[in-house]
Amino acid sequence: MQIQEWLKRFIDVVSRYPLVFTLAVFIVFPFIVPYKALATQIIIWGLFALGFNVCLGYTGMLSFGHAAYFGAGAYMAGIALIRIWDNIWFSLFCAFIIGGFLALLLGYLCIKRRGIYFAMLTLAFAQLIYFVAFQWVDMTGGDNGLRNIPAAPLSFFTLEIDIYTPLRFYFFVLAFVFLSILALNLILQSPFGHVLQAVRENDRRAQSCGYEVSNVRWLAFILSGAISGLAGGLYALYLHFVGIESLYYSTSGQVIMMTLLGGMGSFIGPFIGAGIFLYLEDVLSAVTPNWMIFLGVIFVLCVLFFPSGVWGTIKNLSLRGRTKIRIAGAVTKPPL
C-alpha cells in the first residue's frame, strides 16, 4: 500500500534522528498554532506528561496522583520566587527537587503495591497533599491560590533578559523541555532504562535476573516526580499564579488522558497528547461549557480501540505484520 510505504519511510527517518526531528517540530510549533500561549501551554503539559510517561509507559505503573508533584513544583517555584530569592534558575531548581523529594516520600509507601492498589494509593496521597495545601493558607493562599508571582528576569551572570513575551517565553520553556528530553533519552538508553522496561514487561523475571525491582521502580517514580515538578514550576512562571486545582485529582486525570491519547511508551506521544487535549479544550470550550464530555468520550474510545494512542497507532500502522507496540503487564481475568 502506498500510504503504508510512505508511513514506513517517514517513521524510519524519524526514528533515525528522533531528537533532531523533535527539535525541528518544536521550533516551528508556535508559528502553526492559533496563538503562542497555547503552544507554551502545550509544551509545559507535554513535559508533565513526559514525566508521567516515565512512570506509566516505561515502568508500567499507573499513578493517579501525579498532580501532587506538578502542583508541589508549581507552588515551590512560586514560593521560592516570592519569599526566598527572585531568581528563575533557583525557583525551577526548587521545583525540580521538591517534585523528586515528594515522589521519594510518597513512593516509599506506594511502590510495593502493583496495579490497582498502587493507583488507589497514589490517588489517596495526592488528595492528602491537596487538602494540606488547601488548609495551609499562609503558604499557598488556600482556595485563592498563590498570586502575584513576580516576573523575575532571566539572568546570565550580568546579562538580564526579559523573557515574558509570548514567543520568548515559549523558547525559554522549550530549552528546559528539550534539555529534559535529552537527559531522559540518555537515562532511558542507559542500562537503567533497559532495566525499567524489563521490569515493566515481566517484573518477576527481572527480579530473578537479580534486579531489585522495588528500588528500580522507586527510582523511576522519583525521576517521574522530579520532571513533573519541573513542569509545574514552569507553569507557575507562565501563569504568575498557582491555583489550588493544580493539586486536584482533575489535574492527575488530565495528564493521564494526554498520555493515553498521545501514546504511552514514547517521547513524542505525551506531547502529541497534550497538543490534542489542549487544542480540543481550546476549541470546544468556546462552543460549549460541557466540552469535557467530548474529551471523556474520546478518551473512553481510545481506551477501547486505540490504547496505543495516536503515535502508537501510527507506528503500528507502519509495522503491519511485524511486532506491534503492546502495553504489557499483569492481566485482568480473561473471559472464560
Binding site: 506509566l56 499507573l62 493517579f64 509507601l109 510495593k112 503495591r113 502493583r114 496495579g115 490497582i116 492498589y117 493507583a119 488507589m120 494509593l121 490517588l123 489517596a124 496521597f125 488528595q127 492528602l128 487538602f131 494540606v132 488547601f134 488548609q135 485529582y249 486525570g253 493521564i256 488522558m257 493515553l260 460541557n290 469535557m292 464530555i293 474529551l295 471523556g296 468520550v297 478518551f299 473512553v300 481506551v303 477501547l304 490504547p307 502495553i327 504489557a328 503487564g329 499483569a330 492481566v331 485482568t332 481475568k333 480473561p334 473471559p335 472464560l336
Partner: protein
Amino acid sequence: MEWTAIAMQLFTGLSLGMLYVLLALGLSIIFGLLTVVNFAHGAFYMWGAYAGVTTMAVTGNFWLALLVTPLVMGAYGLVVEKTLIRPLYGRDINYPLLLTFGLQFIMIEIVRILWGTSDHPVSAPETLSMPVEMLGFYFPAYRLFVIAITLVICIVLWVFLERTSLGLIIRAGTRDPLMVRALGIDMNRIWWLVFGIGSALAGIAGILAAPIRSVFPEMGVAMLVESFVVVVVGGMGSLSGAILSGIIMGEAIALTTLFYPQMADIVIFLVMAIVLLIRPSGLFGKAGLLE
C-alpha cells in the same frame, strides 16, 4: 466536653460510616470477583442520588425512590459491564481503571448538562423527619434509618453470599474462577451480575445520602477517594474489612470534626498511612493479593 455531644457525634459518625460501608462493599465485591476497580463508583453513587431525587420530584414518594434507585443503577451497571468492561478482559490490568475513569467524567458532565451545576437540596421523608429522643439527646430519625437499613442490607448480602447457591458460586469464583468454569458455570454471567450488584449498592448509598449531604454533580468525587481509602484500610477484596473500616472511618471523621476540625479532611489519609505501615495488606486483607 459533654458526653452527650460525644455520643451524638458517635452516632453521626456511624451514619456517615454506613454510607462508606455501602460504597466500600460495592467496590470490594466488584474487585474481589473481577479484579476490576470501578473508578466510576463515585459517579454511580452520584447518579443514584440524582435518580432518587428525580423519582421523588416526579412521584413525591421517598420509599418508591428507595426501591427504584438500586434497580435503575443495577441495570445501568449491567449495561456498562457488558459494553465497556467486558471487552477489556485479557488486557493489561490498568485498562478497566482508565476506562472507568473516563466514564466517570462523562457521567459527571451528563448530569451537569441535564440538571445544572448547582445543588439540589432534598429533604428526608415526613415520617423520618422528627428527631428521636435517645440517651438524653435528640438525634435525627433519618440517620438512624440510614444505619438500620445499611445493617439490613449487610445481613441480606451475607445471607445471599453464604446461604444461597448463587452466593456460593460467587465466593468460589473469587477463589478460583478457572475451576468454576471447569465445573460448567459461565463466569461471564456471574461477573455481569456482580457488577450490577455493586452498582446497585452504590446507587442505594447515593439515595440514602441525598437528604443528609448536598446533591451536586461532583458529590461522588470526594466520596470515591474516601471509599478507596476505606477499601484499602479494610483490605482489598475483604467484605468484613470493608464494613469494619467504613465504620472506623466514619467515626474518625466525626470525632475529628468535633475535637480538631481542621484535620477532618485529612484524618482518613493519616489512618490509612498508619494502617499501611503496620499492616500493609489492610486490616483483613490477604497478603500477596496485589504485590
